[in-house]
Symmetry: C2
Subunit: 206 residues, 2 copies
DNA sequence: TTTGATTTCAGACCGAGTCTAGTTATTGTG
DNA sequence: CACAATAACTAGACTCGGTCTGAAATCAAA
């Protein structure tokens, strides 16, 4: 059923991503031109843009695909949205570093965080998530509260990612970074659940 | 002291902003070209970009100039950061609509929210604020908590602005919108202080 | 008025992204 | 197998945001 045509398309797609990824990690997002990518991948620029809507999307393949709203909507009965999200990201934090190639991951994140343009694009992706999450929360909490909650949750998760990257990009060992991430994840959800009031007193360092 | 030269520069600057603002509100940010703006303002494109670093900056003049970090750093002794911010935005919500021209304000916000590119740029401005705020909170709460708090606060404020705009852009009367904004501001800070836990139960509508 | 510094300018240039019109595959059908 | 119909690809021109260059205009100080 999967005709030759579709296989070729998939090949081309993969080739473009591979070439782009290599160039981005070698020289950084901003220093690479889509003309270069197209040339190196042996396609016309127009073809490249037929596969990917923008240069950013080339570097953000597979980013922002968490389904926050889905996690909330599919949670076990009796579980609060925050509990469900906490469990989800707890599992993710545990699993993440175990399965994934550390160097590849840190290279990917470095490409993103090193380019303001890319960080912005990643942020825009998160924005989508946020809206969907707000909608998922609306039934239970009403619109204004749901919107605020969703915003706080999304911002929190982005911050966790950033912190994780900074540890990983520093000289922290992968296990160390994973440990810190796990700790900060709990901290973050505690903060969301209990509010800032609980943190009134000096807690310098961590 | 203020030589002719500097007066001319200021005139030119104002002329460019005026022209750009008019065109943006007439036709929307994306449908206006910097060449058009330059032509209408009777300057060369290069001159325009000597005054303003980007097309976005033309539409975002005076946006994102709140100084969240400053509010926190200059708060009265004994006051928590959140208390200080709450007081600040409470005052702002009260004063805002009283002083400012409603139509002008809503036009401005419409220009921004109607263009994804512009919303993104505004978001990037908020990002700066967020980092400064995180730094201001670090002394008291330690780095990871401060970063999380700052992220939640910034996201919250953005959400308030969005909600305010949506009410204003709808057919809500200015006073009505101001009233809602005031209410949501309190709600937002309650949420930040007490956490989501407090909102477990059905609160449909508002 | 001459000199030196600023400002402005037109226009070339770059990179991202779109569009067009024509070419080359791959496909389903007789 | 031949033959449309269709899908994918291509080169190149084009638009728009933004930078750069080198020259011309303007202003300040002497």
């Amino acid at each position: 059923m999967t005709g030759l045509r579709e296989r070729r398309k998939e090949q081309t797609r993969q080739r473009i991503i591979a070439v782009a990824t290599r160039l981005f990690t070698e020289r950084g997002f901003d220093a690479v031109t889509v003309n270069e990518i197209a040339e190196a991948a042996e396609v016309a620029k127009a073809t490249l843009f037929a596969y990917f809507p923008s240069k950013e999307s080339l570097a953000l393949q597979g980013v922002g695909e968490d389904d926050l709203a889905g996690v909330v909507l599919r949670r076990a009965p009796g579980q609060s949205p925050l509990q469900a999200l906490r469990a989800h990201f707890r599992a993710l934090a545990d699993g993440q570093l175990a399965t994934l190639d550390r160097d590849e991951l840190v290279a990917r994140m470095r490409v993103i965080f090193d380019s303001p343009a890319l960080s912005g694009a990643a942020n825009a992706l998160l924005y989508q998530q946020r809206r969907a999450l707000a909608e998922a929360l609306t039934e239970e909490y009403g619109e204004p509260v749901a919107a605020l909650m969703a915003a706080q949750i999304a911002a929190t998760l982005l911050t966790l990612q950033e912190s994780f990257f900074h540890h990983l990009a520093g000289d922290a060992a992968p296990e160390e970074a994973a440990r810190v991430l796990a700790g900060e994840t709990e901290l973050a959800f505690d903060l969301l659940e209990n509010g800032h009031q609980h943190r009134l007193h000096h807690r310098k360092g961590q």
